[in-house]
Amino acid sequence: MQLQRECNDRFEDIVAYVLGECDPKTALELEMHFAICEQCRTTRGQLAAEETRIHSDVQKILERLAWAEKAVQQAVPPSPSLPACSQAPPPSEMPSGSLPTILIRDDSPYNGRNRPFVAYFSRVGPFSYFVSATLMCVAALAAWQYKIADRLGHVESDLETVVRHLPAAGGRITDMSQCRWPDVPPTAKNQAVAEPLALALNSDVPSGRKVQIESGLLEIAFRSGAKVILQGPAAFEVGDNGGFLNLGKLTGKFENKSKSGTTQSPRPNPFAIRTPTAVVTDLGTEFGVEVDDLGQTTSYVFRGRVRMDSAIHTDPRSVTLKSHEAARLEFTDGQKIELRSVDVDPRQFARRVHPERIPIGISGSGYDAQPGHPDPRWKVFRAGQEADPTPPAALLIGAIRSTWQPAIQGQAQWIGPTMTWHQPVPVGAVFTFRTDFDLKDGKPETAFLRGRAIAISSLKAIRLNGREISPSEEGKPKYAWEHGHMFQPFSIDHGFVAGNNVLEIDVESGDPPPPPGDFSALGLLIEIGGSVEVGP
């Protein structure tokens, strides 16, 4: 129940994350949480789908506004400015064509009331009413015709105008992680570089727009279904179906499923990545491309095939790469280039924006153990006696109060050095509870653990690999409870090592000791879990 409530508390943070309005710290915390929480991932997916729906609607509204804007531009005569509207040109200078509805209002400054031609008839008496009525009828008829024409679809020319002003085909930013943008002041030369504001999640990146990131990962999807993951630092110019990688790394993926279910590359506009020295054309695959400072290009194929062509027209070369093959186009002496097969570590290319995370094999106290039996994962010993290479297992003890129960029954239980609460330990004694876990295939620098603990009588310290997580401040232990018997939440995001890791928790017995039969002298209940990115 506690976990459920925590996810609900995150809902507004997830909304801000999808809107691109989340602060970096919260975004990082959320991305870590997404890795382990399917419910929050689902919520993020629903919100992203709604964003797409909203943006689609917004685009339609903008198209309508474009029509209206065009109508205004046609309708307004080239007057010096509105305050000087009395000097507006006569109706004969009005643009030809249908009369926009914006002109039929009687109180408009452009309706001729202030113009000499109409003013003359307005002084002529009843005849002026006839002329005015006629003019109004004509205006109404013109406006009616304009609306009818609009409804009947005689607006292809307007539509073409709008389409002409829409950006050429490009991509859409579909995902990002820890992106940092270069601090480049706008100049005439780099106007085409997408500003950070324009690079929000779900924003469109038109063809020809340059995207630069200093670090992090940015995923751009194309209309063809192809995707690229830019890996900072990188400079990439978005194309119709692919683009130009000027510097850095990217991973391209194209999943075009034909009716038969086989993957095919689109024709006649294949997904291709151009670089200063090469053109890497997708033939239905997933591949990585790297461009170094000299413009030399390396490509590696994860699966499928790609064709790598030299972009130097005076020295055409080509090679087709299959799965797990790599090639490099590099400069040799002088201006000559060489295309050769190379060994590439494929792990240097990011294949997903949010790296795959796996749970860390650590369990809460008393997990999957029977009352009165030893805990298979947690050991306990008197502090200072850890010279014993095989400390005894902690023992499961019965529950004390209903409020001191784990969030999910069965995930954790009370453990202690004694089997019952009626075997008090010496006053002020400190016992260390220890468990270990192996990160195996995980990257230690990406691991994190999170949990909460409650101890009788007080939590003195939490250590990972012998290093205290939060050192005491001014002689006051960080984890001692001070506000009643509350669970102490904690998180650990550093101090992990490759292979085996040791987590220790020091608990001190109370002073004075609780009366026998009511409290135990020493016990610990800890819920804990975490994950780590898959990697070397």
Partner: protein, 176 residues
């Protein structure tokens, strides 16, 4: 996110007029149509009503813009006009009884708008509704919305997130 500019290059005559410090109707519409439409959309029942009100807002603006002394305040002034026009619109609506409900026939060439989405937005409280619609239609920037609504960026961000969360819940309820 920066929205794509449909007609990004004003003509030279317009530029000359704007260079002289005067606000032209083209410039008014070009700069603020999205914000005005957003306010109209947030305060009317549907897109057609919003378009009608927007038209009356710009008509009003063209006749009374000479009273605007500070061009920097043009946007805030226009949005205020838009809100008043929306109130007038609703007042007129109450006084009239429609004979028949006009059938919704999609116009050829005119993109259809998602009415269900708009209906969900209409269920939001007024201040949330206006913030949300302004955000999406006028540049997707909390700073811009804050300037339009004379509020702080932090307050707008909080209001936006809550509005979006409420919209999500409404859309989810609708799907169920």
């Amino acid at each position: 996110m920066r929205w794509i500019t449909m007609n990004s290059a004003p003509n030279h005559a317009q530029q000359d007029r704007e260079a002289s410090g005067a606000i032209t109707p083209e410039a008014l519409f070009h700069r603020y149509a999205r914000a005005v439409f957003a306010v109209c959309l947030a305060n009317t029942r549907n897109y057609h009503d919003a378009e009608d009100v927007m038209q009356s807002v710009f008509l009003k603006a063209t006749t009374t813009i000479s009273t605007l002394r500070d061009p920097e305040q043009a946007k805030a002034w226009l949005l205020q006009v838009a809100r008043r026009k929306c109130i007038d619109f609703h007042r007129r609506e109450r006084q009239t009884v429609p004979l028949l409900e006009e059938p919704s026939s999609p116009s050829v060439g005119v993109p259809a708008i998602d009415d269900r989405l708009h209906a969900a937005i209409q269920k939001l409280p007024q201040e949330y509704r206006e913030t949300l619609v302004l955000y999406y239609l006028d540049g997707q920037s909390c700073a811009t919305v804050a300037a339009s609504l004379s509020s702080t960026e932090t307050a707008i961000r909080q209001r936006l997130v809550r509005a979006r969360a409420m919209l999500h819940n409404l859309l989810q309820e609708e799907e169920l």
